[in-house]
């Protein structure tokens, strides 16, 4: 795909992404677009290729074929996989964010909660210590962590608190695009509800675009306007979330929707 063929208003576009791990095709000819401020969910069972797609989109994993274009804050189109490594790292620290299922992958466990949040601000050039601390404290409050815990180490936090701290650390710099990999996986249902509500509110208030990987279609319905269903490395169905979940066309989507337990 040449840059001229990217639609003028997309934030992220992928065309023809394919990737094999040895004999296993993890991604086959995947096309997708993401617009600014939009939440796109990628659903499918484990092994369907959704996390692989997320890693390919975010430049963490190079596809065998295919192109990923990202439009940066200046409006310049960037081919994510031809960027030099330092430039990609800089993008991950500034305009992008990544929220992992396990917050320990992102947080620095030996640094205080406030330090974890402030670090990303400092990476963007903030130098005034008092300002950074004030911002960190207000972000802890936004994600419902008592600001008096600002000097505590993350290892004293519960799983749900760690996940909220990761969200504060990621969103403090107002990224335009955040990748989320099962952000509520492995948490208690009550903790999940709080986290989903926080993500929903913050993402819409800050107009952040999100690519969200989840196996939980209720999470997709709550957070995402559009959805992509993957099976065996392919996109088998895509569209508006309510359309795809209420009127699924593909046999696999029908199976996915009918397999959900009613609480």
């Amino acid at each position: 795909m040449r840059p001229e063929s990217v639609r003028a208003d997309t934030l992220l576009s992928v065309r023809g992404a394919a990737l094999s791990f040895g004999p296993i095709a993890a991604l086959r000819a995947v096309d997708a677009d993401l617009w600014p401020g939009e939440v796109l969910a990628i659903v499918g069972e484990s092994g369907s290729g959704k996390t692989t797609l997320l890693n390919v989109l975010s430049g963490r994993l190079r596809p065998d074929t295919g192109v990923i274009w990202y439009r940066d804050k200046d409006g310049t189109l960037i081919d994510v996989h031809t960027m030099a490594a330092p430039a990609l790292r800089a993008l991950h620290r500034s305009e992008w964010g990544f929220i992992h299922q396990d917050p320990r992958q992102n947080l620095r466990m030996g640094v205080s909660a406030g330090g974890n949040v402030g670090e990303r601000l400092m990476a963007q050039g903030a130098r005034n210590y008092a300002d950074i601390r004030t911002q960190a404290a207000s972000w802890l409050e936004l994600v419902e962590i008592d600001p008096s815990r600002i000097d505590d180490l993350p290892r004293t936090f519960s799983g749900g608190m760690l996940q909220r701290l990761q969200i504060a650390r990621t969103l403090v710099t107002h990224p335009s695009l955040v990748f989320m990999d099962e952000p509520t996986g492995g948490l208690d249902v009550s903790v999940q509800a709080k986290l989903l509500d926080l993500i929903r509110t913050l993402v819409s208030r800050l107009r952040i675009a999100v690519v969200l990987v989840t196996h939980d279609i209720a999470v997709a319905r709550l957070l995402a306007l559009r959805i992509i269903v993957m099976q065996g490395g392919r996109v088998v169905e895509s569209g508006l979330t309510d359309q795809v979940l209420d009127d699924p066309q593909h046999p696999y989507t029908q199976l996915l929707v009918s397999s959900v337990l009613q609480a």
Partner: protein, 229 residues
């Protein structure tokens, strides 16, 4: 405002060996501004399916669903997701039979977020939401609570407030008074009448024939189709 031509909808159940269930075929309706059309027909005839197809929640197999959006007739059945989102935000409102509750979100915010999504300030949107909830007899002490614990009738009234607050020029109402008592149903009927008078085109399913006769200008009947061959 809304013109439906030769709409067809069937469901294919892949988990049941590809069983195909036709529900709608060759449906045509025309609704003008300020007009209210009530869908009639026995249970299972496809009234809700038609309603959901008109909202783009179900995907039509054939036919066109033209809505007047930003001054031009747009085919919603062929619209790509982003256009459909825009049509729903600005032009086409829908009140479903049941409120889909989101944990932890207060009733007032459930209603206000529709306006906030259209660019209205949070303060103004909350003020409008409060007024509508009060009009629908939702007591002030409930406004800050999430509707998950509300009664069926209260949830439905929150849902109605959410549907009416946007002031969409086309409104789809699926059993808007189903779980309401007579007094609240009368309030809803009055709101429908006002909305109509303001020029909104309405399509509704009304189980309650008194309400239906009070608000509808004409009936559109849907006959059940034969079972799949």
């Amino acid at each position: 405002m809304l013109q439906v031509d030769a709409l067809a909808k069937s469901f294919t159940l892949h988990l049941r060996g590809g069983l195909r269930i036709p529900v709608l075929s060759d449906v045509g309706i025309n609704v003008r501004a300020g007009e209210c059309v009530a869908l009639s027909g026995p249970s299972g005839a496809g009234k809700s399916t038609l309603m959901r197809s008109l909202y783009g929640n179900y995907r039509a197999d054939a036919g066109r669903i033209l809505v007047r959006h930003r001054g031009a007739m747009v085919d919603l059945a062929a619209a790509e997701p982003r256009l459909l989102i825009e049509i729903r935000r600005e032009t086409l409102g829908y009140v479903s039979q049941f409120l889909r509750v989101v944990p932890r979100v207060a009733a007032r915010d459930v209603v206000a977020e529709v306006l906030i999504g259209c660019g209205v300030s949070e303060t103004q949107a909350r003020e409008r939401a409060k007024d509508l909830l009060l009009r629908l007899n939702i007591q002030p002490r409930l406004h800050s609570l999430p509707p998950a614990t509300f009664s069926g009738g209260e949830q439905q009234r929150v849902n109605l407030a959410r549907g009416f607050i946007g002031g969409h020029p086309i409104l789809l109402l699926d059993e808007p008074t189903a779980s309401l008592d007579a007094a609240n149903a009368a309030i809803v009927a009055a709101m429908i009448a006002e909305t109509k008078a303001a020029g909104t085109a309405i399509i509704g399913i009304f189980h309650d024939t008194d309400i239906r006769d009070a608000v509808a200008d004409r009936l559109f009947s849907i006959a059940p189709m034969q079972d799949a061959a």
